[in-house]
Amino acid sequence: MDSLIPALAQAVATLERMAPNASAYARRNAGTQVRVDGSSVSCTPLSPDAGFTLSAWTGDRFLEVSCDDHCVEKVREATHRLADRIRHSHVEWDSRMPLATPLDQSYAQPLDQDPREISAATKIEAARALRAAVLVAPHVREAVGIVGDVHADIVYVDRTRRLYQRLHRVRQICMGIFARDAHQAQLHSGREAIGGWNQLIDPALVAAEVVRDGPRILGAPRLSDPGEHTCVFDGHFAGIFAHEAFGHGTEQDLFLKDRSRGAQFLGKRVASELVDMYDDPSNGWAASYFFDDEGTLAKPTCIVEKGILVAGINDRHSQAELARRGQQVAKTANGRREAYDHKPYTRMTNTFFGPGTATTDELIRGVAKGYLLTHPSNGMEDPKGWGIQLEGSMAEEIRDGRLTGAVFSPVVVTGSVPKLLMSVDGVGRDVVEASLGTCGKGYKEWVKVTDGGPALRLKAVIA
């Protein structure tokens, strides 16, 4: 992949004779997914998803051409095609995008044991072991074990930067399908981690929550008293809350479209003073990288500090356009593409609440009547209206500071983001990573993310 850099640099130089800015992005994904259930086994290479995009900023708009080949000849063809489109476009030379400091660098995530060297039979055995770890649970009708490895080679080139990174991660996922009488329920758990095959952990640990909680949600009713309750979100549920609340709410490409109320709240209180929140593509969690898809080096962003909304996240265009409008915001490394042939948007990476001082037990002890929410499944944001929807598989009743064992499933949280955040009156001390996430922009453009946090105690409308 890095051998393509000279050709891409040549393309950038050619295009910058015709437009104020040009850049090139190339990516090749590889990896394997192994899936085992009671009726079938598969060991499938991931779709290669390999190609490059040439991008030109005319001072007025972006023009991009993508091609699914990596040969020099195709780069030349794409350059000619894009040059032709620039020729037919209005160009404003005095509207250049700012350039980063020069850098020519290669990066690679650690890979002690390369999964590409592991045999299919060994991978299938690993997936079978995961499945077997779930099959020990009561009432389990079927179980699925999945192991996988993902490798991405990424190149970014513009006038000042020639960057190359190799990213690697492995995943373990298990799912149990539980059945009793006419009732059925599914629950999954898993993890992803940066690195090689040696990052896989004991299947029993991966499956532990499924084995414990799958039978408990089987046949569980929905809440009988929907409405506002004191809730404790476990670390995973807090993570999806962070992501949907002021992850999406501070994506600054939405600021440009007047689609985010967060734009008016920078520097203002949006949460209880116990709340800190971050997005960090450099913290080593599973969505980490060295530079984003626009060549900006990864670094942490503190989004909420002691309840104050202090910063947003951005891509190159949104940061430059906000600056042009007189709003200076720090450049962050959040310009990401779903694939080599998709547009870059402002996207989250690893998004999480910072730690407090309480244990989860202490948070529960402070609840007279409420629920512990666990096993989040999905969520949806509303950056303009600040509404939120979070769904999970399990709400466990709390009475007089203790879990009663009564379980309800599924559960949905709705309400106003600042109202929820302002009600936080307890923050746990242990930050956990929910590493299996993917995130859409609206309802498409899926990218790898993680989220996480400590347990939170707050008031929420649940049903």
């Binding site: 009726s39 598969s42 059925q184 929905r222």
Partner: protein
């Protein structure tokens, strides 16, 4: 790299008992506008070949594997992928099944100039049926000149927005995609189809008189043709919601009649189709039982669902992933699961004749006019997110925008709170609208009225 090279390499591998190649060529054109000003224009082309192969069967089991070839792969890469796939296949024994060949029951015949003769088990579907629908997968306006077609759609959007001057058009994303699919297998099947997919996503803004904050209305639509996006109507409806929704309050709480439509209704109906899948039944993890009721019916309209690949929608096709022809299959009859759909693989495992994978999900119109369904009901226009859980059919959604219709015909806008329920109960007294619509992969009633919990 090309199809013939891959075909030749696979044909020469005597270790293989079966193989299939699916060639996918696509061309995408995209426009992104912010406040009606172009922000980005993109073009992307791609071609890939998906290869599936199987080793000889033994004791009812066969090793299978699949991989994808791209133009970036060379001949040595292909041979390496093939060796790896054979190794994977040897380690992955699965129930044996066989790809269809020309003339097999249910398989599609090669398409020649717009007429497909499709035979289905139990009788032949008329070639004329498919001939009539020979262009039903592709929008000719898009295939002729996708860039010009997009420009036309942008103009349509712009006109529609100008007709609603109380709104500001925040963002528009418009995509068209032309996809050519060709399937060849070791038995001589050679099938082709061309289809188009069109996608629009837009956001309108409106600041009600005297209000501090603007409201937004987000909408997204996907269809086979630009015309079927109905952009003018969608923009007009969105603008009306913004104008009439000023000062929206919270909905009433409790067990209430709720009218669900569009994508949300399609999602509810699709849950039944997903649990009529032969793959789930073969694995014994389907939530529905063949020949058993799928709803606790207390009244209302009967639930009837059919899969029909010849009815235009995003799920229509000429031939499915293994080359079985477009066909019609009655899945749910009068609230009872009557038949399964599924890939050739899982249908064979269950000992059934393959009749094509799930296609357009068709439901008959109800008997109640939409205007009557709305009386005394909460009509949800936008949820934050709304789909039933795969395992239980339980569903929940935050209300982004809804109308509360009083019995006297008046209505007021509401936001916030949630709708939740469980399909098996909620559909027990469902009433479907007389009006119909095609949404995504579903063709059926425009709306349904169900009684579910509204929490605030």
């Amino acid at each position: 790299m090309d199809l013939r090279l891959i075909q030749n390499v696979l044909s020469a591998r005597h270790e293989l008992a079966q193989w299939q190649i699916t060639e996918l060529r696509s061309r995408r054109h995209e426009r992104y506008l912010t406040f009606l000003k172009s922000e980005s224009e993109r073009e992307a082309t791609s071609v890939r070949w998906q290869v599936w192969l199987a080793l000889p069967a033994s004791d009812g089991k066969q090793g299978e594997a699949s991989f994808t070839v791209t133009p970036a792969h060379g001949g040595p890469d292909l041979r390496k992928l093939l060796v790896e796939a054979e190794t994977s296949a040897a380690a992955a024994p699965n129930p044996a099944w066989k790809l269809p060949g020309p003339g097999d029951p249910g398989s599609a015949a090669s398409w020649r100039g717009g007429v497909v003769a499709c035979e289905v088990a139990g009788g032949a579907a008329a070639g004329a049926q498919m001939a009539t629908a020979s262009d039903f997968l592709a929008d000719q306006v898009v295939t002729r000149d996708p860039g010009k077609a997009l420009d036309g759609a942008v103009a349509t959007f712009t006109d529609a927005v100008r007709a609603a001057p109380w709104t500001r058009p925040s963002a528009l994303e418009l995509f068209v995609r032309i996809e050519d699919r060709r399937l060849v297998n070791y038995r001589g099947l050679d099938l082709s189809e061309r289809r188009t997919r069109c996608y629009a996503e837009f956001v309108l803004l409106h600041r009600p008189d005297g209000a501090d904050d603007e409201q937004e209305f987000y909408d997204q639509i996907e269809a086979q043709s630009l015309t079927d996006l109905h952009l003018s109507k969608r923009v007009a409806d969105a603008a009306a919601c913004l104008r009439d929704g000023a000062g929206a309050g919270v909905p009433p709480a409790g067990k209430l009649p709720v009218v669900i439509s569009g994508d949300y209704l399609a999602g509810l109906l699709s849950w039944y189709a997903s649990h009529a899948d032969a793959g789930l039944h073969a694995r014994k993890i389907a939530a529905l039982v063949l020949d058993a009721p799928v709803v606790e019916r207390r009244g209302g309209d009967p639930l009837v669902l059919t899969s029909d690949a010849t009815v235009p929608s995003l799920a229509a096709y000429r031939f499915d992933e293994h080359g079985y022809a477009a066909a019609r299959q009655d899945l749910v009859q009068d609230g009872v699961l009557a038949a399964l759909h599924g890939s050739g693989r899982w249908m064979q495992v269950l000992g059934r004749v393959p009749r094509g994978q799930l296609a357009t999900l068709v439901a008959p119109a109800g008997s109640t006019p939409l205007v009557d369904l709305r009386k005394g009901a909460l009509e949800v226009v936008r949820f934050s997110d709304f789909h039933p859980r795969h395992d239980t059919g339980a569903f929940s959604g935050e209300i982004r925008f809804a109308w509360w219709h009083a019995s006297d015909g008046s209505r007021r806008a509401v936001r916030g709170g949630s709708v939740s329920g469980v399909l098996r109960e909620a559909m027990g007294d469902v009433r479907f609208s007389r009006e119909t619509a095609t949404v995504g992969g579903c063709s059926g009633p425009q709306a349904a009225r169900i009684v579910v919990t509204v929490a605030v």
